[in-house]
Amino acid sequence: MAAIAATPTIQSDRDLVTRHQYGDPEAFDEVYERFGGQVFQIARRMSGDAALAEDLSQEIFLRIYKYLDRFKGKSSLKTWVYTVSINCCRSRLGRRARRGKSFVEVEEERFDQMPSPTEGTEARVVRREAHETLARALARLPRKFREAVVLRDIGDLSYEEISGVLGVRIGTVRSRIARGRDRLRGLFHSGGAP
């Protein structure tokens, strides 16, 4: 069943890449439409900074545009896009860290989600604070845990897909996600302090 379900996606991935190779500009637009939001979220949660995430998203999509014709279809396009995103974040944030800038300069979270009609102001403030605390705690996680947790809980990737993106065994993925969430649980309840 899984193979049958996966076939249309792989087929449409290949179609998309072939159209890009033949110079169809709408093919890249489709890639952006499919992955733009998720790539931005990954960049934002890996960097902890919305402005930096915009720059990173541009870099990531520039790489995707340049190298899309080298995509061979060994994995799904989704896994490939996430691999490019993680590699780009590692390289940019690594350079930033070497220049002495920390990952944990988390900006104020923009709380732009629609409030529920039944939610009072106080409840909204509490939810906002929890939101900000979690974002700060996430930015403080060691990189290997943060990558695994972000890919699972924000990118919504399966364990197998994460294993492909990070190039580690599934057992390692399970362990990193569990340890990352456990640390977040601790940091979250202590207000994001290290």
């Binding site: 949660r45 915009e54 998203s57």
Partner: protein
């Protein structure tokens, strides 16, 4: 069972990654041990809140910036990539090697002849003396629509814009056909398109606009 092993089991339980026997084992453990149930509740909250973080949408202008950057990249590297790809295809074909050698020899000959002629042409050019760089004055600042623009290096920068933001401002190329349209849309900045490259604050976003000159 160690803490790490328990947490891993609970985390996999949350993700639906356990087989029926393991699932039952976790449920029994949570019923019998309050501490485990508490850890599970904490992990569940963290996972739920992370899901909410993923819901915030990217800024609307990001798609426009990405597409513009890709268009610029395509314009800059498109020609070279096509040449490079053809050259690669040509080089991997062994039968093409003699032909390639002939082309290379011809290219070398043309280069030698052309550079020789160029040297000859240059020798006939009159000597032109230019003032030292320090003598070349930067243009005076310009006042446009109540904002002041200062010439720095090779571009105009709006006074008051943070230097770091100006250095990392995304570059947006405005083609000469679009310059008039841009100018119409920004009546508060008359003549900005004539400046060429300009860094300014557009509604809270610092960008570098490069207005192309009309081809002659």
């Amino acid at each position: 069972m160690t803490h790490d092993a328990t947490v891993e089991l609970l985390s996999r339980y949350l993700d639906g990654d356990l087989n029926p026997t393991e699932r039952q084992q976790v449920e029994d453990l949570m019923k019998s041990d309050a501490a485990t149930a508490e850890i599970y509740e904490g992990l569940r909250q963290v996972r739920g809140s992370l899901g909410q973080l993923a819901d915030s949408a990217p800024p609307a202008h990001l798609g426009v910036l990405v597409r513009r950057r890709v268009v610029l990249e395509a314009e800059e590297s498109g020609l070279w990539q096509r040449v490079d790809a053809r050259l690669r295809r040509f080089l991997v074909e062994p039968a093409m090697l003699p032909a390639f050698a002939v082309v290379l020899a011809l290219a070398a000959m043309v280069y030698v002849l052309a550079s020789g002629l160029d040297r000859f042409e240059r020798a006939r050019e009159p000597l032109i003396l230019r003032p030292p760089p320090e003598a070349v004055r930067a243009p005076a600042p310009k006042e446009i629509g109540g904002r002041t623009f200062e010439f720095q290096g090779d571009r105009w920068i709006e006074l008051g814009v943070d230097a770091e933001l100006a250095a990392s401002a995304p570059r947006v190329r405005v083609r000469w056909q679009e310059s008039a349209e841009w100018q119409l849309a920004h009546p508060d900045l008359p003549g900005v398109a004539d400046l060429g490259a300009v860094v300014l604050d557009l509604g809270g976003e610092v960008v570098e606009l490069v207005f192309e000159k009309e081809p002659e």
